[in-house]
């Protein structure tokens, strides 16, 4: 039976209709329910139902022909139909059989298989002589709470918002998928930097960044139909590459498939990106002041080979080096490759 999977998040909703692995339609809707919509929608369930109705009607589809599964953030609404498969995001991540580490990020925090912190409190200050920038920051945080779909329109606000999650220390695995409302539809250069910031431990990591909530969709499908989930997963492209975390500096020998060798020396406190085409293979040997000599075969990807020599495990010093000047330099390293 054809399936329809739905992720109803904090700031976005994604719907994926799969008739066959080759015949699928996806809606990535950059809005979600908030109480501000109470004049038009009774609750989140009502909002999502109306959206599904609209999407099916636009595509001349009949809901009764599909088997549905939902993933809700933060919790399954009370009004949900108990006969339809529904799971909370937290539970979905905990129950995944994906051997990669899933890092789900939204503006309030992070979930992984073994870590969950989704609480960002609003500043309770009542003083009337606060600096104007503090007042603005508090107002922005409160507006983002009321209108969850808002994307900051300047880099300073993006950094402020990302700082809610940037300095959280999580234990990485060799393979990592980074997903969530924070990365949804946002292909700007601040997004990969945030992804690299989240992976702090020295080592070599295979990372993917999901900007379409596809990881959640594929998990939902796999729970309903494992085989279909496997086929779709194999055919799904994520932006990704290899991240080398080598605080203090790195020397990296990259040996290409065609036998060419290239030695890279990356100084401390930098991000260096080496393009490696998708599908191409290479062998790297890395040595750093903290990272022991490591050899690994890697695949190319949209983001190539990223060598990050920033000290991120010491949060105090990481916060100190997170200056505008440095950020500009790191962004340039990514931009010069991507754009």
């Amino acid at each position: 039976m054809p399936v329809c999977v739905v992720y109803a998040g904090l700031s976005c909703v994604s719907i994926l209709i799969v008739k066959t692995p080759d015949d699928k339609i996806q809606l990535n809707f950059p809005y979600s329910y908030s109480d501000y919509f109470s004049g038009n929608f009774k609750n989140k369930k009502n909002f999502v139902d109306a959206l599904i109705e609209r999407f099916f009607s636009e595509n001349n589809l009949n809901k009764t022909d599909f088997q549905f599964a939902f993933c809700w953030y933060p919790e399954i609404p009370n009004q949900s139909d108990t006969s339809v498969s529904s799971i909370s995001l937290n539970q979905l991540i905990k129950e995944t059989t994906d051997f990669s580490l899933c890092i789900f990020v939204n503006r309030y925090g992070i979930f992984t298989q073994d870590y969950g912190n989704m609480y960002a409190s609003l500043n309770p200050d009542t003083s009337n002589d606060l600096a104007q920038d503090v007042v603005e920051e508090m107002n922005l945080a409160s507006n983002s709470y009321v209108f969850p779909q808002i994307i900051p329109n300047n880099v300073f606000d993006v950094i402020d918002e990302d700082n809610n999650v940037r300095f959280i220390n999580i234990e990485p695995k060799e393979k990592i998928i980074i997903t969530g409302d924070r990365f949804f539809g946002r292909n700007t250069h601040e997004s990969p930097i945030l992804a690299f910031d989240l992976i702090k431990k020295p080592g070599v990591f295979d990372f993917r960044i999901d900007t379409k909530n596809m990881w959640i969709m594929l998990e939902l499908i796999s729970r309903m139909n494992e085989k279909m989930g496997e086929i779709l997963s194999a055919n799904t492209d994520f932006a990704g590459g290899t991240l080398v975390n080598s605080p203090g500096g790195a020397e990296c020998l990259v040996s290409g498939e065609e036998g060419s060798d290239r030695l890279l020396v990356v100084k401390d406190n930098s991000i260096f990106v080496l393009p490696l085409n998708k599908g191409s293979r290479a062998k790297i040997t890395v040595k750093g002041s903290v990272l022991n000599t490591t050899q690994k075969s890697i695949w190319g990807g949209e983001l190539g080979l990223v060598i990050d020599t920033r000290e991120k495990t010491n949060l105090a010093s990481f916060k100190e080096i997170y200056t505008q000047k440095n950020l500009k330099m790191w962004e340039e390293a990514i931009c010069s490759y991507q754009y």
């Binding site: 004049g39 038009n40 007042v135 409160s142």
Partner: protein, 330 residues
């Protein structure tokens, strides 16, 4: 692409409102009776002033408890300090052993406040009325529910706002004030000192919100946090109902304006549209600095942004998708 429609003003037909006494009273309406805002639903004796006495308070005589005491009479001691009755009333001993002095009860008339029909009478405590409202949906509010007269300041500058507040000072206690496009922290603090029931403004700072929460005063931002102006069509609607007895439901973020009957208005439509196609000529509300809360007409749609012609100054500005919402107005 389609986007959700934001309905800021809606009609609420066949609504129910419960009008309740503070204590048991005498009901003077019957089931299905037609009521208007000034219809008396009943009356109950109410002590308008209450004085909670310090835990070290010792009464003058035990005979005083529950007896009528005249203003100025000594009622007891706190240490060596003699305590005089601040008004005519009675001294009562509470369950925890402390004492409270209650003003002599006066009859409180409970008025309907709305047009409608009596649907249910609950013991001698409250009356449920079937009625109709215009609802104004607020971006954010503290959680109190209250009712009172709506006093509308004419969207003045920040300086004039304080002048208005002081000018209306005798009339604002317990009432709901619409302050203007923006209510500063200073003005919110002063309004709370003057005993207003509730404060509405186009935008307020988060700090003001925290202050209002702490003092259990209702505060609402119509369009958002910060200097976010009230959109013209909402201000026009609020202005139309100045001095009307209104209700706020903080837990629902709604200002409810009772109506004798609901007629169509240009300020809101009854269109059932939940989503609209994002295309030139639709009206949108912007949710991005420096135009947060402004409204305009979509001029052009690009892949990751739109160009909006602002209603206020005719300027065309680029707004990132999805930092806007469609509005349900013509």
């Amino acid at each position: 692409m389609f986007i959700p429609v934001l309905k800021k003003i809606t009609r609420s037909e066949n609504s129910f409102i419960e009008r309740a006494f503070a204590s048991e009273g005498t009901i003077s309406v019957i089931l299905n009776e037609k009521v208007e805002p000034f219809t008396k639903l009943g009356e109950t004796p109410v002590s308008y002033q209450i004085l909670d006495l310090d835990s070290n308070f010792k009464p003058q005589k035990n005979d005083y408890i529950d007896d009528h005491i005249y203003k100025g009479t000594s009622i007891g001691w706190i240490g060596r300090k003699k305590i005089l009755a601040p008004f005519d009333g009675r001294l009562k001993k509470n369950e925890n052993g402390a004492y409270t002095f209650y003003e002599k009860p006066r009859e409180f008339w409970l008025l309907s406040g709305v047009w409608g029909f009596v649907e249910k009478i609950l013991d001698k405590r409250s009356v449920l009325i079937k009625t109709q409202f215009i609802d104004i949906h607020l971006a954010a509010s503290t959680k109190q529910n209250l009712s009172g007269e709506l006093i509308v300041f004419p969207n003045p500058s920040d300086v004039l706002q304080s002048e208005y507040l002081e000018k209306f000072a005798n009339n604002i206690a317990g009432n709901i004030i619409y302050m203007g496009n923006y209510a500063s922290v200073k003005v919110v603090k002063r309004a709370i000192e003057l005993g207003v029931g509730g404060i509405l403004a186009g935008g307020v700072d988060r700090v003001s919100f925290n202050i209002a929460k702490g003092s259990h005063t209702f505060l609402a931002a119509i369009n958002g946090f910060g200097r976010v102006p009230t959109t013209n069509y909402i201000f026009d609607t609020i202005k139309e109902f100045s001095n009307r007895f209104v209700f706020v439901e903080g837990d629902q973020n709604v200002l409810k304006i009772p109506m004798p009957e609901l007629t169509d208005s240009q300020n809101f439509s009854t269109s059932p549209k939940l989503f609209v196609n994002l295309e030139p000529s639709i009206k949108v509300q912007i949710l991005e600095k420096p135009y947060f809360g402004w409204i305009g007409t979509v001029d052009r749609v690009e892949e990751s942004s739109i160009f909006v012609k602002l209603e206020d100054n005719g300027e065309t500005v680029e707004i990132k998708t999805p930092n806007f919402l469609a509005l349900d107005i013509a």
